[in-house]
Subunit: 198 residues, 2 copies
């Protein structure tokens, strides 16, 4: 069975758990002792020299980076529903995978790292970035039910997690009504599973 | 013909110009007057509400985000050479598209924005991130000719640009011999075109 090296409160790990739940994929979860630095130890550094989680192991294949894992899992096991085959739809989805890797990582995720885990990051900048993202996302969702391709895709799995726990970093998405309604639609998808904080 | 809304000194725009040059794709370039804020004006905001460049227009399709544009162009016009069809190879390439969107954006790109364009970003943090990326990249390239899939892919087009002009932000990749050799291999690819600063 595929193995996910996992940290429960990590939104990046939750992206993968969420997709597996929605797509009905079996996944063996190995909880990593993050506080003890196990992710930077010899065994996991050999799998991922970047010293980060999640890591996916599927037979001989090892992948790091939550977006890369989503693309792989959806392409290999999820069918075209979650990761379309058409180039223009892949481009549409990809726009949001970049938002997840860049803007959300350095917006709501950074704010939460400061408040919840004591990271020394620029909280004011993270809050400013969070508000910008939420405004742009709200505008997009005012005319779209889903982020891309007219249906739920891995874009949802990449963007939703850190917004759903953004309140743990002092960011409140609820006033953004279209974002809020979209989050409720995701929670209503068959197979949906939450993470702590949702 | 496809149109790229372009800013010549932008590494993100160069990612697209580089791919088009390597893959032999015709591209109409419209130079945007960035200093006058044209990218945030009414016409371009309607195409990209994020107020950023590049923007690609191909018939009715409009895409923002350089990584998304690479995935689209390679999938639609580049053939499997540049963006493999196999899920595990897409996952491999995707790992580096995330590095381009996240770590490189907030490392060498941020350092260059401070030095070359006067942005008020944390230069020390950008330099620290840059050294980390270069070390990890160098380790990877010690045993790989190319970033992913054993051949040049859009991962090269996404990761190379801001490293090639990193010296403009006070980051010098040349001591990293495997990174340096890899950059030379890219410059030797048929059709390669530089950007100002390379």
């Amino acid at each position: 069975m595929m193995k996910l090296y996992d940290l429960e409160p990590s939104g990046n790990c939750y992206k993968v758990r969420l997709f597996a739940a929605l797509a009905g994929l079996p996944l063996e979860i190995e909880a990593v002792d993050f506080l003890a630095g196990e992710h930077k130890g010899e065994r996991l550094s050999a799998l991922n020299p970047w010293g980060e989680l999640p890591i996916l192991e599927d037979g001989k294949l090892v992948l790091r980076d939550s977006q890369a894992i989503l693309v792989y899992l959806a392409g290999r096991y999820g069918g075209e529903a979650w990761w379309p085959g058409e180039a223009h739809l892949q481009g549409e989805v990809m726009q949001w995978l970049s938002v997840a890797a860049n803007e959300i990582q350095h917006g709501p995720n950074a704010a939460r790292l400061v408040d919840k885990f004591g990271y020394a990051l620029d909280k004011a900048l993270a809050l400013e970035r969070s508000e910008r993202i939420l405004r742009l996302l709200d505008d997009h969702l005012a005319t779209h039910q889903w982020l891309a391709a007219g249906r739920p895709t891995i874009a949802e799995c990449a963007v939703f997690p850190y917004l759903a726990v953004a309140w743990e970093g002092g960011v409140d998405p609820r006033p953004y009504q279209h974002v809020n309604a979209w989050m409720e639609r995701i929670k209503a998808l068959p197979g949906f599973q939450p993470m702590p904080g949702i």
